[in-house]
Symmetry: C2
Subunit: 374 residues, 2 copies
C-alpha cells in the first residue's frame, strides 16, 4: 500500500513480526504525516500521547495538536525525563492515567521521545488491557536506530536494566530526522554507538559509512541522518525478522550489552546508554581477542569509530556492583553470563549458539580495565 | 508425541496458540507425572514454583518435592491467598524473588493454585526477562475449567479487574482432578459456574451435562470432574484457537463478565468470581430478553443451573461503584461498555461483531436487580 507518507519518507523499512509486518518511515519532515500513519496502521479515534517532560513540551505537544486537528481524541501523558523513570512505578502511573481517561481497547498509544520513552510506553501498551497498539515516534538517534525497532519493551528494576518487559511490536515507526536538530549534540552523537554496533556485527561497509559520515551525523544534517538511520534500521530489521523473540540470532544485537548494561547499572544510570555500550563493545572485543576468537586489532578499530561519539574517560562506578550485575544478565544460562563475540568487524563468532561462556574473572578484568578509560 | 502422561490422563485437550499447540491433561492422579510434562514441554533444570500460602503448603510443596526429586533446581515462591493479592505489588515481589534466585531465561514457572495464582504467576512469567515459559497446575475447578486455559494473564488495579496483563500461552496444563477433593465444597461448586457459561454460549448438551452431574461434581468425584472439566476445556479451546487475542469470537467467553466484573469490583472482591459471574449471566440474560434478543425463559434456565452452585442472596456492594466499574470495562468501545448476549442456551446472538451496545440505564437497572438476590 502506497500512502502519502511512503512518498514523503526518504526510506521505508519493513520489519517482519509475528503480529504482521510494520513500516519504519525514515526521513526529514515526517511528523506532519502522523494522522495518515494512524489512519492507515492503527485506525481509531482515541489516542494516548506519551512523552517525557523534556520532549513533551516540544514534540509531544506538536504531535498532540496535529492529531487533535485531524479529529483524534487525544490524551496527553508525561513522565519525568531520564532513565531513572524507566520503572514499574512510572509504568503504573501511566497505565492508571490511561484508565482514568477511560481509554478502552480501541485506543492507540503514540510514544514520542527517546529510548526510555519508547521502552516505557511500549511496556504500557503491551500490558494495557492485555495489549493495545502502539506507534513509535522516536526523537533521538538512539531510539530511531535501535529502541523503536524490534518490539522490545521494558523497565529497569533494582537487579538490572530491562529485566521486566514484553515483546510488543509497533504498528508503525515514524523517524523524522529533522527532529534530531533539537537534540543535544552529545546525545545525538552517543546514539550513533548503536549504528556502529550494527555495522560491527553484520556489515563492515555500514561500519565504514558511520565512521565516514560521523561529522555530518553529529551536526544533525537531516539527509545524512536519514541515510544512516535507514541503513541501520534495515540491518536490525533483517536480524529481528529472523528471530523476533531472541531465541537465536537476535542475541547478536546484544554485542557490547552484557558488560554495557552492567556498567550502566553500576553507575546508577548516571552515564548514557551509548557510552556504556561503547565501553561494553570495547571490553567484549578485547575479551574475544584475548581468547583468540576475535581478530587482533578489532578493539582498536572500534575505539577509532567510537572516539568521536562519546566520552572516553574514566567511568565513576562501583566495581563490586558491576560484578553483581554481570551475573543478573538476561543472557545467562544456568546462572552463567553469556557474551556475544565478534570474529572481526562485520561478523560475529559463533560458538555453542550465538553466545559464548567466558570465565568470570576475565570478564570482570575486562570491565574494570575499560571503565578506567579507553 | 505419546508420553506416559498422555496415557495416564483420562483426557488430553490440545489448545491451538500462536506460540504452538499446548496440551491440557485432565484426569485423576496426574501430579506425579509433572517431571515428564516438564521434560517434554519445557525442558530446563531451573524451576520457580509459585503458589499462594494456602495451596503452597499442600500442593505447592508436593510439586516442589516431586520436581526436586527428578533433578530440578526448584525455587519456591508464595504470596498471600486471595483476590486481594492479584496486584502489581504482588507481581513485583514475585518477579524480584525470581531475580534474587538468579533465574535466567532458561527457567520455567510452574503455577500451582486457583485462578488468582494462574493469572498472577502467568503475568510474572509473561514479563520476566520479557517472557519465560509457564506450566499451569490448576487446583480449583475454576482454574481447571477456565483460568489456566487460553493464555490470559493479569492483575487487578484500582479501576477494575484484569485491566493490566498480557496474553501468554502456557507450555502445558496439568489438571489433576484428585486435587479437587482438598478444595472447600463451596469453592468447588462455584468454579462450575464457568462450565455452565461454556454450555450457555456454545453447547446446550454441555449445559445439560453440568446440570445433570452437579451433585457428583460438587462431591469431587474425580472421574465425573474429569469428564466435565475436559469437555469444558474442549469448548473453550475451540473458541480460543479461532481467536487467541480476543479480537472477535473469543469475546463470547466474556458472557456474564461485563456485569460480573463490575459486581466483583464494587464488592471489593469479598465475593467469589463464580458468584459474581453467575449474577452477571443472569443480569445479561435478562437484558437480552428485555431487548427481544434472547429467547424468553433463558434467564430462568440459567437460574436453575446456577442455583446449586453458588449463593443466591443479596450481594453487599456499593451501587455507585458498580456503575463506575461498568464504564471501565475492557470491552468498551469509544467509552461505551459492550455486552455479550445469548440467542438461547447454547448460542450467542451476533450483532455488530460479537458484542452489543446497551443503554447504560438498562444495564445499571439489571445489575441492581440481580444483586438484590435471584
Amino acid at each position: 500500500m502506497i500512502t502519502p507518507v511512503h512518498e514523503a519518507a526518504r526510506d521505508t523499512v519493513d520489519v517482519g513480526a509475528a503480529a504482521g509486518v510494520y513500516p519504519v518511515f525514515v526521513g526529514p519532515d515526517l511528523l506532519e504525516h502522523l494522522p495518515v500513519v494512524l489512519s492507515t496502521y492503527a485506525p481509531t479515534r482515541r489516542v494516548a500521547v506519551i512523552s517525557d517532560d523534556e520532549v513533551g513540551p516540544i514534540h509531544g505537544a506538536s504531535v498532540a495538536t496535529t492529531l487533535a486537528d485531524s479529529g483524534h481524541d487525544v490524551t496527553v501523558l508525561t513522565f519525568p525525563a531520564g532513565e531513572a523513570s524507566k520503572t514499574r512505578t512510572s509504568w503504573s502511573i501511566l497505565t492508571d492515567g490511561m484508565l482514568e481517561a477511560g481509554l478502552g481497547r480501541d485506543c492507540v498509544v503514540v510514544a514520542v521521545g527517546g529510548g526510555v520513552t519508547t521502552d516505557l510506553a511500549g511496556f504500557v501498551a503491551a500490558t494495557y488491557l492485555r495489549g493495545v497498539p502502539i506507534v513509535h515516534v522516536p526523537t533521538s538517534t538512539l531510539a530511531m536506530i535501535d529502541a523503536s525497532v524490534g518490539g522490545k519493551t521494558g523497565v529497569d528494576v533494582h537487579a538490572g536494566k530491562n529485566l521486566v518487559g514484553a515483546f510488543h511490536a509497533p504498528r508503525a515507526v515514524v523517524a523524522d530526522t529533522t527532529v534530531l536538530a533539537t537534540l543535544e549534540r552529545a546525545r545525538r552523537a552517543e546514539g550513533l554507538v548503536e549504528a556502529v554496533k550494527h555495522g560491527a556485527i553484520r556489515d563492515e561497509a555500514h561500519f565504514g559509512l558511520v565512521v565516514e559520515r560521523a561529522e555530518s551525523l553529529i551536526a544533525a544534517e537531516p539527509m545524512a541522518c536519514a541515510e544512516v538511520v535507514a541503513a541501520s534500521v534495515r540491518l536490525k530489521a533483517e536480524v529481528v525478522a529472523q528471530d523476533e523473540f531472541e531465541e537465536g540470532v537476535r542475541q547478536i544485537l546484544n554485542f557490547g550489552h552484557t558488560i554495557g548494561h552492567a556498567i550502566e547499572a553500576a553507575a546508577d544510570y548516571r552515564i548514557g546508554h551509548g557510552r556504556a555500550v561503547a565501553c561494553g563493545m570495547i571490553a567484549e572485543a578485547r575479551l574475544g581477542e584475548g581468547l583468540g576468537v576475535t581478530e587482533a586489532g578489532t578493539a582498536a578499530c572500534l575505539i577509532e569509530a567510537l572516539a568521536p561519539l562519546t566520552v572516553r574517560g574514566e567511568v565513576d562506578l562501583d566495581p563490586t556492583k558491576a560484578r553483581d550485575f554481570l551475573g543478573a544478565d538476561k543472557k545467562s544460562r544456568d546462572g552463567q553470563a553469556r557474551y556475544v563475540l565478534l570474529r572481526r568487524i562485520g561478523e560475529v563468532a559463533r560458538d555453542d549458539g550465538w553466545t559464548h561462556e567466558i570465565d568470570d574473572e576475565a570478564a570482570h578484568a575486562a570491565l574494570e580495565a575499560v571503565v578506567r578509560g579507553w
